[in-house]
Amino acid sequence: MAQARLILDELKKNGVTHVVGLPDNSSAKLFDLLSEDRDIRLISVTREGEAFAIAAGLWIGGKTPVVVVQNTGFSESGDGFRGTITRMRVPLVCIITYRGYAKLALLRPEAGGNALDAETLSLPHLDSAALITEPTLKAWGLPFCLLHSDEDVTRLSEAFTEVQENQQPYGILVTGDLT
């Protein structure tokens, strides 16, 4: 698990001006910190698709936004993400909490892989939101890495460099609840 405070510090180190998103249990601590922070403005949205379009507008206007959403919300964002961030090649770092990640390991022994058939997607002890996360990111052209613990927090700075070099978004998948 990673500390929300370290992530916030990393965002500040990279000049982030706005965080746009919706909290979940994993990101709640980060949102708590942001709600009291004076350097980064938190923009709360009613649905995740809004977040990506707002972030695109912020970037066009010269700001450095980050989007924070759950993987379920990322799926909801579909065409909003494609029609703004992807088409505009916005150098956006997206922090996506990975609901259901811990149970993914249960899939491999019994199903022998990541086959996304109807039987697998409906298994009661697995979270289908997690099952589709990485395939969805790959299909939507969003490169990503996993952030498991404090040791991985520096991946955020690497992501900020990467988005600028490639002029495209990058996803940070947070696999546990932030503390």
């Binding site: 746009v20 949205v45 698709g49 912020l58 206007g61 010269g62 088409r87």
Partner: protein
């Protein structure tokens, strides 16, 4: 009910240095009145998120007005944006809903609730304090200076005759400058026009 020309011509005259974000049925007609690099066509289908994009611009550029010409079909896709916009409290944000009651780009099929939707009531319910509604071109033209100078966020519903605009392409065939290049390129042109490239990358 206004024609698109009656909606757009006065706005083009009075917009000063405002950013204009267009969507769907007014995207191409706006190009008749403006060749400005402060225009942005959010017409590539993002499931109704034009008003969100304009909100982000308004938050980033508090020193100038950002005017969004949203479609009614697009607005219906993201009604939650009305709440988000009020919460974000950008005083320079002006959200028009161009209400023609149809999905004009796809052949003027009626939007859900056509003829019954009360957009000004939805905006007031979301918390907009300044809400305008126009069905008459003279009243619109008279009020526009006040609308554009009001402290926002401002919501403006305008009933407009449906036209016959087809799908937007980004190609040399389009006359509007903002449709002749890719979305990625125009986004960077607008960044330069706003001086944003120097602020941050």
């Amino acid at each position: 009910m206004l024609t698109k020309d009656e909606l757009l011509e006065p706005l083009a005259r009075l917009r000063a240095d405002a950013v204009i974000v267009t969507c769907m049925g007014v995207t191409r007609p706006w190009g008749k009145y403006s060749k400005s690099e402060l225009d942005f066509a959010s017409a590539d289908s993002a499931m109704g998120h034009t008003a969100d994009l304009a909100l982000g611009l308004a938050l980033a550029c508090p020193q100038r007005k950002v005017i969004c010409l949203n479609g009614d079909g697009s607005m219906l896709m993201t009604l939650g944006t009305l709440v988000t916009a009020v919460q974000a409290a950008a005083p320079n944000y002006i959200l028009f809903v161009v209400q023609n009651d149809t999905y004009e780009i796809t052949g003027n099929q009626p939007v859900p609730g056509a003829g019954r939707i009360d957009f000004p009531a939805l905006a007031r319910g979301a918390g907009f304090m300044r809400v305008y509604s126009f069905e008459d071109s003279d009243a619109y033209a008279r009020a526009l200076p006040e609308v554009l100078s009001a402290e926002g966020p401002v919501f403006v519903a305008v009933k407009v005759q449906a036209g016959n605009e087809g799908p937007i392409s980004r190609s040399d065939r389009e006359s509007a400058p903002y449709l002749r290049v890719s979305l990625a390129e125009w986004a960077r042109r607008l960044r330069r026009a706003l001086g944003a490239s120097a602020q941050a990358t």
